[in-house]
């Protein structure tokens, strides 16, 4: 009996060939040399450093220092987050279509409204497209070394991200209640609080809490560019190859990230029960106490960090800032420099793509034991490993990998792989746990071996979700890859760092523009891929 050929096969083969044709040059550009890890010299350096990890430094003086730096990190994250919310809320309200009055009808000023929204969205793209560490690096030059630069950098980048996501959340829900209020002559704020917030408050808060968690991780590394916190301490210890201190700091990272996780899941659980108290007041005593506590924490952060933001408002500092900004213009667009930036961009793309792909593979391998299919001991062990991997920020991994594999983009690839494996492993594990069990069980009952059961019963169910997670992570990693060069791990960051320390601002601004373009391009590519795969 003649049978048809698989019609999907040629497309699959072509896809595979294209992938190889794309990845091969990227692997060359990214200097993907796994054997570098096993060169005698690198092994010796890394071995010596790791041997120093035990015992972790625990002398009183260092611990006091560590405690202060940890508090500073938390304060930077909280203050930066508060600033970000202040930036984000008005921007979100102004840029969301759900609260547009001129769209009703359409009424007068529709053109103007759309223009305004487009301009605001562009501003948001710039705010979040430039990595927070680059903002910090710039602000350090204006405000000097210290936490102020970190707080402002977080405030701007996270302000941009929050505003975009807030606006999207407000648009994604049911828009009719708000529209009805607007049609009845209500103001934007009234429509927001009576029409949109009841449906969206939980998601908004939950996303904010998640971002605070991210801010804690981000502020850990601010110190690498001199913006205070644990990173500064880590940078010093690494430069002196003091393994004991590095070990203590890494342990602190782990504790911080786990605590932030726990706190944020506590918050989210509380949110689920909100509004069921049956009281007249919208906010019950526990929530009120929580809010007061949060407010106090933010206030304390600002006071303790002693940012001196008031000085920003003086005429002198405004003038010097304007001068500083002006020195970045015009961009250096000479062919030589553009070629150099182009090469750096390719390297950055290579780092982000290879790092994300490798991490997706490792994450999947680690997710299998982490979702509890191979016994509890292995489950807990893998979870600890995943938490450790993701609690160490990419930039710190990059400094470690630069020791292990030498300076260059390969260290960047390794750094992204390690951190992202931790993140994706956890997300993948959750996805596998939530996969519908029926296909898997049916195959098991038909005597299929467990590997085949996974490939035929579970994987087809979760693949779209896994791919979406990996693509989201790629969007973050392109931003990360462009700053890993600050510690010598290749890409655009290396160029930017060198040019800024040579005061070549025109060249530096070209690099920043390239980072912005890359992040916008990757966002668009990833969104397209996700739509195509859905």
């Amino acid at each position: 009996m003649s049978h048809p050929r698989d019609p999907a096969a040629p497309a699959r083969a072509a896809g595979l060939l294209v992938a190889i044709a794309l990845l091969w040059p990227l692997a060359v550009i990214g200097e993907f040399h796994p054997w570098a890890l096993f060169e005698a010299r690198n092994l010796q350096v890394m071995g010596g450093f790791l041997a120093g990890f035990l015992p972790p430094a625990s002398d009183r003086e260092f611990l006091a220092c560590l405690g202060r730096a940890t508090l500073e990190t938390l304060a930077i994250a909280s203050a930066g987050m508060a600033l970000a919310i202040v930036v984000a809320v008005p921007l979100a309200i102004a840029s969301t279509q759900a609260l547009s009055i001129s769209r009703i009808g359409p009424g007068p000023g529709r053109r103007r409204g759309e223009m305004l929204r487009a301009v605001l969205r562009m501003l948001l793209v710039v705010l979040r497209g430039v990595p927070e560490l680059v903002w910090a690096l710039l602000f350090v030059r204006v405000f000097g070394l210290g936490p102020a630069a970190g707080v402002l950098a977080l405030g701007l980048t996270y302000g941009g991200m929050l505003a975009k996501v807030y606006a999207e959340i407000l648009e994604s829900g049911d828009g009719r209640p708000a529209r009805a209020l607007l049609e009845a002559g209500g103001s934007r704020l009234q429509a927001l609080s009576y029409g949109l917030l009841p449906g969206n408050a939980q998601e908004l808060t939950s996303y904010t809490v998640y971002r605070w968690e991210c801010a804690v991780r981000a502020s850990v590394v601010m110190g690498f560019v001199g913006a205070g916190g644990l990173g500064q301490l880590m940078d010093q210890s690494m430069k002196m190859l003091n393994g004991g201190e590095a070990a203590s700091i890494l342990l602190t990272f782990l504790v911080l990230v786990l605590a932030a996780d726990a706190l944020s899941s506590l918050f989210r659980r509380q949110l689920g029960d909100a509004g069921t108290g049956g009281r007249a007041a919208a906010i019950g005593p526990p929530s009120l106490a929580l809010l007061a506590l949060l407010g106090a924490a933010v206030l304390a952060s600002f006071v303790w960090l002693d940012l001196g933001l008031a000085a920003l408002l003086t005429r002198d500092s405004a003038a010097s800032m304007a001068d500083f900004m002006a020195s970045f213009l015009p961009l250096d667009l000479s062919v030589d420099w553009l070629l150099k930036v182009g090469k750096g961009s390719l390297e950055t793309v290579a780092i982000s793509l290879l790092g994300t792909l490798l991490a997706a593979a490792c994450g999947l391998l680690l997710a299998l034991p982490a979702c509890g299919r191979h016994g509890r001991a292995l489950e807990h062990g893998t979870r600890l490993l995943l938490n450790t991997l993701r609690s160490v920020p990419e930039l710190v991994w990059a400094t470690l990998m630069a020791l292990a594999a030498g300076l260059g983009p390969f260290a960047g690839i390794l750094a992204l792989t390690l951190h992202t494996s931790g993140v994706l492993g956890r997300l993948f594990g959750e996805a596998l746990q939530n996969a519908p069990p029926a296909p898997r069980e049916a195959l098991l009952e038909a005597g299929a071996p467990s590997g085949a059961v996974f490939l035929y019963g579970t994987l087809p169910e979760v693949t779209p979700q896994l791919v979406a997670y990996a693509l989201y992570r790629w969007e973050m990693n392109i931003r990360m890859a462009s700053i890993l060069g600050f510690v010598g791990a290749g890409g655009l960051g290396q160029l930017l760092y060198v040019e800024l320390s040579l005061f070549h601002y025109a060249q530096a601004s070209t690099v920043i523009a390239a980072m912005l373009l890359l992040s916008v391009a990757v966002d668009a590519a990833s969104a397209r891929l996700r739509r195509w795969l859905a």
Partner: protein, 299 residues
């Protein structure tokens, strides 16, 4: 072939699904299980398929006690048992060809399962199984593009492809219109008969069970109410079995309307109405022999 002795099954929540059930079958036998909803039909099939361990009692399947076997041998035993589910557990994004080929994963070496994901290794086999259910045209479609009835027949095709020695079918035709339901049941019985495999099917429609299966087991409240040849099952016995459902016998004609058959099945759709009247009084008529071959289960 299998021997279930004095088996009871209590679920984790305390619900007792089976009480002291004793049931045995020789190789090549074909048994239909009927009974009201909640009688324990699915539980019985899952116990026979070594998917649920009876709380008490003894089970021998294909000359082995599954619950005394080490894991690897239990897996090999299960590979010889095929199950057709009422709601086929197929991943929506999987292609039909892959879903059918997955039936033999228990017999294939691991590398074959992996390689077949890159390119289906036995398209001919999958196509042949699907062709018997008139679904070969959908072989490269994704499962989520199929209607509920088509999906159910893909599940049946998977069991056909598995070539199991014991076929357990849990309401395998519940989503099909009367004509297709009878044809599909007939494909199952013919396949089992041709290979000498044992077939146990739970069926909602009593008339289908009586017309297609030589031996009928009535199940009620987790107990076997009767177990006799189809010819010895009369209306009074059935009414007693279904007393909890108001004495109304569920028949093909009374089964809620299935999902609309697709264009691929258009040729059968024209027969969809004519057999209804004849099914009710179980009298063979010319119109039925036209749609069901002479070797069919029409007595």
């Amino acid at each position: 072939m299998f021997r279930l002795h004095d088996a009871s099954l209590a679920h984790a929540n305390g619900f007792v699904a089976l009480r002291e059930v004793t049931l045995a079958a020789r190789a090549g036998e074909q048994i239909a299980i009927v009974g009201p909803s909640g009688a324990g039909k699915t539980s019985l099939l899952r116990v026979l398929g070594a998917a649920l361990r009876p709380t008490t009692g003894q089970l021998d399947v294909l000359d082995a006690n599954p619950w005394a076997l080490p894991a690897a041998q239990l897996r090999r035993l299960r590979a010889r048992i095929g199950v057709a589910h009422q709601a086929p557990p197929l991943p929506p994004r999987q292609r039909v060809v892959t879903a059918v080929l997955a039936g033999r994963l228990g017999q294939w070496p691991w590398w074959k399962g992996v390689a077949s994901l890159a390119y289906p290794l036995d398209i001919a086999g999958a196509a042949a199984a699907l062709a018997r259910l008139d679904l070969d045209e959908r072989i490269f479609d994704r499962c989520d593009r199929l209607s509920g009835g088509q999906l159910q027949r893909v599940g049946v095709a998977r069991v056909l492809y598995q070539q199991a020695q014991l076929i357990l079918a849990d309401e395998p035709v519940s989503a099909l219109d009367p004509t297709l339901a009878r044809q599909t049941a007939q494909v199952l019985t013919a396949d089992a008969a041709a290979r000498g495999a044992t077939l146990v099917a739970s069926l909602h429609a009593v008339d289908l069970a009586l017309s297609c299966f030589p031996r009928i087991v009535g199940l009620r409240d987790g107990r076997i109410a009767f177990d006799r040849p189809a010819a010895a099952v009369d209306q009074a016995l059935l009414r007693k079995l279904y007393a909890s459902e108001g004495g109304q016998l569920p028949e093909l004609s009374a089964v809620p309307a299935p999902l609309a058959p697709s264009s691929a099945l258009g040729s059968h759709a024209s027969f969809a109405r004519s057999p209804l009247a004849t099914v009710r009084d179980r009298a063979p008529q010319a119109s039925d022999t036209a749609s069901v071959p002479a070797s069919g289960c029409w007595r």
